[in-house]
Subunit: 412 residues, 2 copies
Amino acid sequence: MRQNLQIDPKRLWDMLMTTAAFGGTPRGGICRLTLSDHDKAVRDWFRAECEAAGCTVTVDEVGNMFALRPGRRADVAPIAMGSHLDTQPTGGKFDGILGVLAGLEVLKTLHGLGYETNAPVMLVNWTNEEGSRFAPAMLGSGVYAGVFDRAYADSRTDRKGITFAEAIEAIGYRGAAKAGSVPIGAMFELHIEQGPILEAEGKTVGIVQGVQGIRWYEVTVTGQEAHTGSTPMTMRRNALLGATKLIEAVDAIALARPPSVGTVGLVEVKPNSRNVIPGEVFFSIDFRHPEEGVLDDMEAALYAAVEAVKVQTGLEIACDAIWSSPPVVFHPELIACVREGAQAAGLPARDIISGPGHDSCYVNRVAPTTMIFVPCKDGISHNEAESTEPEECAAGAQVLLNAVLAYDRKFA
Amino acid sequence: MRQNLQIDPKRLWDMLMTTAAFGGTPRGGICRLTLSDHDKAVRDWFRAECEAAGCTVTVDEVGNMFALRPGRRADVAPIAMGSHLDTQPTGGKFDGILGVLAGLEVLKTLHGLGYETNAPVMLVNWTNEEGSRFAPAMLGSGVYAGVFDRAYADSRTDRKGITFAEAIEAIGYRGAAKAGSVPIGAMFELHIEQGPILEAEGKTVGIVQGVQGIRWYEVTVTGQEAHTGSTPMTMRRNALLGATKLIEAVDAIALARPPSVGTVGLVEVKPNSRNVIPGEVFFSIDFRHPEEGVLDDMEAALYAAVEAVKVQTGLEIACDAIWSSPPVVFHPELIACVREGAQAAGLPARDIISGPGHDSCYVNRVAPTTMIFVPCKDGISHNEAESTEPEECAAGAQVLLNAVLAYDRKFA
């Protein structure tokens, strides 16, 4: 029976293209900032579609939307799908959106066949995953999971001085349900990979094991500003030459510990003038790995490199850990359902770790959770050029359906 | 007779402190931009002091001031001293100013004793050496030497849109003399070193052999922007890691060819975000050496390094030569006079090459020229903290006087 349930690839693609008009940009992307008029438009559309597919839609106090389709049993918490419909200012058509609309396609498939699941099935649209209009990111799912409270969310302010509270009231999406009150029994989030691994290996499905831990550092190297023409090489204290050694150390530390990644993305040179030897260089470090122990080891290697470069160059170097996000490990039972779902669909799959954070990181704190990845062209995301093929979107939706039904069997 | 002529250290220091009030800053520096009201005030003071010392002052069409003290012979061109009285926006009390006021102290010494030289002696205040208000630098001496024409100088515009022509008329320093028409038989310019060598070696006098040649390059390294979290180390095209290799190559190329200097002073990383792998890095290179042949060799080594890093990293790298200033070699006969002057004064001296450019670079094209350096604390210049001790200023002025008189002997 289960294997016969097939999502409708064309219906899914049509929904992706239809909703892409809410905030669509001339260059083929979407600018649909959270709680904007475009966000209201896509939310209204989403609510109507869910209701037409036999669901009851509940909105909570931070605008998270929950579309519930009853199952045979009312005594078990719903199996949830979903992601987010907000985008970056120059976002693409798939980041977050695919996870919501594929869930809607699953609901439509079940509804069209009159298929009764054991557990209720629920589709979620989380508010403000992107964090572009209101920082921080993953705000709606964070309030749901108790990471933030409602007052904190309400107090967030956009660049024009408008608060989250004012914005949510303005579009009429302040729901009556208290955040966290809508139960979730398990959560499956389909998402584009936002990286190049699946495409490079010709895999259609990423079976997501967890999300990397992240540690951020800030480094300031201090030497002595001086004239490039009149200061002999041997009398210089060139801060940039300390920075280059550490930038290369960051790369080497990550390369030596696969699948670690380590990156210096931001560099500021002072005074940044062609004929002045740099007196100070500031840069950021981003380390990621799925295990805290390896992150500890990378941090130790970084501090050792700092000490070595200090001794070698005589420069002053300050290195501070400024932020960390612990690794997330997804639920083995749900991961097994995704694996089974990919096999049943005959799709090439590989285990994968998510680099970016997702709503599922927070939901995982309060309910068994996992994610499904599909490829995106050249790994490009947060960009109007973001691209995933119709067959890849359909594959993701089919695995999502298969995984939900696999998990549902335990409630038979 | 010659050895008995001594400048007055206190009178020189008092002049330095008196004129430091024209544009003096609370932090002990000077902001005396060229052709400003402060520049007019110091020019008026300078003219009056020169006339009081028995000189005739001529101003040329770009504001260069020439104070002439007649000698025994009218048939030889004057032996000139001088430098500039304009400063950087947060300049110090010595850069340029010492060369002019030490020349004035020499004139006062000669005048006070009624000493008659063989050749006429002349003191010059060049307009707009700094180039801070009107680019380029060394504009007045450049017009004098025929490097630029008057129309070019007049057309220069400051940040407020005021032209050089408007500014010079506004302070009444458009002279009648055609630029280049005032003859110079030889030129001695005293200046602070603007570098750390003399101080480090405990030398009081730098016998300047010439000015380094300069070559500037611009490099753009292009890779691929990508998410730091989702892009494995082995699939990256990190432009910053190509840039660090070349920045270190610039250092190594200069270190291997003393007294070469090589510096990357300006670096721009794009998009310069903590969680984005750098897709593009732009940076400047400044190479200097006293010989063109060595600069050619450094350039060849740079292009070889670019090719090597291209192959090693697979990044695209564009490296363009954007500007060069040929080396300047000062006049052996004048250099010998400076050496003799330092010996006569019993001052520790060393031969030195100037890193920065000076008015003397242009004057050297039309008349025998050299320079005398004195130390400045920590090599710091173009800074309100610029500092040279009274004894060092006096030493420079004494060597200047001795060198002028040594050169004057040939006209006996």
